[in-house]
Symmetry: none
DNA sequence: GATGAATGAGGGTTCATTCAT
DNA sequence: GATGAATGAACCCTCATTCAT
């Protein structure tokens, strides 16, 4: 199938070893220069193997990219659960998960960007598989949120939306690293983000005019703000659906 | 300089016309297939011009990409302010800005992704220029936030962080469109996001254990959660710096 | 379709000119060295064009081979009819056709061998097309034979078999040129061949034992020739079926 | 010398066994796909040995081809004499030889074609050696012819020419198998061919105009048909054929 | 100003051959 | 003797770029 990468070499340990070797080189180079710009020759050189060898473990240049991206996403799936081991308190688990996510991204900023940039270069099936892996790691976060909600620590929020917000926030550390790096550590960055996401931003006073941020109001208001808009009372408690 | 794109053609209106023609084609193709995979010949064909003609308005293939990305970012800078025209109320302006940002991204999802994927293919100087444009559009949001804070509608939040959170949330509509599209309209998506970002997530009960999400606590706790951790009271009011 | 060779260049005269140029080089090189051994670069060099140019008139290396083989077979179809122009007498036409076939092969020995050697390198459809062309040139011979038969100059022979015999005989000039070249001219070769094919080989005396060459007799005789065999009278007049 | 194939293995029986194994695979694959297209790896796989092993019995990929072609030609030299064993009558021996040639070719059509297609891929010396083997098998036929002539069964024909005609006719069974296979058995094919070659084709009446097939006459006639030609009255209502 | 034929450097990929085990 | 992982030269083909018309 177009999904699997088949190696011409049989010995599993060898396949394992060589793939690690090749993928390490590939991730570095693709991350730094981009996938299309990097030649197989360069990958081979950096991996200290011959060009021909790569093609014994991989069918295509695209295969290398695929395996590289899988490896990156798998590293998330390996590391986040580790950070939760031994933790029982839901809130604590939640915090640990988010911080772990942030940390693992911080450790592989280039690799994370690589996933964003080059997933599109893969065929549909493989793209789907990567999505599945992303959903899987999102689940690590959303499970924690649900626990917090179940235990009454969080309001009845829209779990999926909150999850994506957190995930995107973590990814943003990579995507916008030029903005934050050097000014904050990843830990500080996550702290502040959680602070913001978990605490109310709007003041009591602000609540009165809050309705105006809702699109249903805006549809009316757009272009000519009606005085009525200001009178609309804030919606209470969202009714999240799943 | 490596920054400017110089055309061999003198007549300004012609340059304008041809560039629009070429860039439209380029953005579509780059967006759909990727920059490296798209050939100049394909761009020429789709723009109904000859290959040679492109090279009269552009020096490089990279030039085409640069102009394309600039055009996308400029379109944000054109459209968001438009949505704010005539609005005075800070909260209303804030909502309108975020919704406008969401809308403009929704209208050009592929183009937005293009910026994410291919900015790296440009030289450093041009990359900086694109960043500047992004900061400029972020400013459109952060200004609104600051107004809300100034008027006491928002708490004294970390403005930059909130801005990025909102921006990333809007971008996520493009980046994760496969997750949300078809299930929500962009307006609903933004509504829910704002809802989540502006309202408290943590319950009164949850606040007691909130300290455990903070990295400073976690650093201690990691691996062996101390009972003490649970007693730590939540930090009050973040001290945002700019 | 897999059959057609499409050029990226539009101007027909140019296509014509370039193809001739390329094919001349290709036929020479493929003929001398073999198709697989010859690189496109070599063809380009010998044709005084760049590698890239070849690929504007041809999609594949295989396309070059196909066009080359077609060109060879077409040259037969062009030249043989020419030799018949103005001739009316059937026997004369027959002789002229065979001599022309011999001559055209003699002029392009290498090219003729090329067809034999490399037809298999083509896809099935193209192979069929070449066969059709061969049949077409065989027809030029078989038509002459039929005329001779019709006019009572030839016995009622198995036309197809005789045709193939003649054709193979002509091809043999190329296939076994190492045997005949230098010892005979093509004209002498054809003379002798026709001599042999048209005149009786078996003597009156030989006829009595002729039956023994027939497989139906041999089947019985094989290993232990029966005396009966000798009594069998020679078959008269073959009954060709089609 | 470039002629010999030297094996690194000492044990003769092993060399024998392995070579048979390898050559069987090679002849099949080269015959089906062509020599250049077939990889050593494919040959190894089909022969159920490792790539490395092949190189212990052979120095080159070309060696494999050489041995394969030799094996094919040797099989002719083995089988034809067998068919003559016990036969004494010259005409009978002639018939048996030709039929045997036909049969052995029919049994290895692909292999026969292989010789035609790939002999050129060998070096000059080896090519000469193959030619010698071909001449050797031609001798098997020509000897029979000479016997027939000696005994007055055949006219004093051009033996070599007749030999080649017969040989080519047999080869044609392979070379043009797409034309005859399924319509004739090899035995029928040979029968008809001999019929044609041994019996006069030209009628008594035809003989009068026969001179016109001779090249010496044609040289004069060419382009401007001799007056004689024009006088020949065309017989109308000739025997219709198919 | 516009065209598109021509160029050729460069990249992906294959495969004969070697050699350590 | 046998294996098959490793090598790297070499080939097909693409495509950005030029330039004569």
């Amino acid at each position: 199938m177009a999904l699997e990468v088949v190696s011409k070499v049989e010995v599993p340990e060898l396949v394992e070893k060589r793939q690690t070797q090749i993928l390490k080189a590939a991730i570095e180079l693709y991350g730094r220069q981009g996938y299309h710009v990097t030649t197989i020759r360069e990958v081979a050189q950096r991996a200290n193997v011959s060009v021909g060898l790569i093609y014994q473990y991989v069918h295509d240049k695209e295969d290398v990219l695929f395996l590289a991206l899988v490896e990156v996403l798998d590293s998330y799936l390996r590391e986040i659960p580790q950070a939760l081991e031994g933790l029982a308190d839901p809130m604590e688990r939640f915090g640990a998960a988010v911080h772990a996510y942030g940390r693992v991204i911080d450790e592989r900023i280039e690799a994370t960007l690589l996933v964003y940039r080059e997933t599109k270069s893969l065929g549909r099936q493989r793209r789907e598989l990567l999505k599945a892996k992303e959903i899987e790691s999102n689940k690590l976060i959303s499970d924690c949120i649900e626990q917090c909600v179940a235990q009454g620590l969080f309001d009845e929020v829209d779990v999926e939306m909150l999850t994506y917000m957190i995930v995107m926030f973590c990814h943003a550390w990579a995507l916008k690293s030029w903005r934050f790096r050097g000014r904050l550590t990843i830990a500080q960055y996550v702290d502040r983000g959680l602070q913001l996401m978990l605490h109310p931003v709007v003041t009591a006073r602000g609540k009165r005019s809050l309705a105006s941020v809702d699109s249903r109001r805006l549809a009316v208001a757009e272009g000519k703000p009606s005085p009525a808009a200001r009178k609309t009372t804030a919606r209470k408690g969202a009714k999240p659906r799943h």
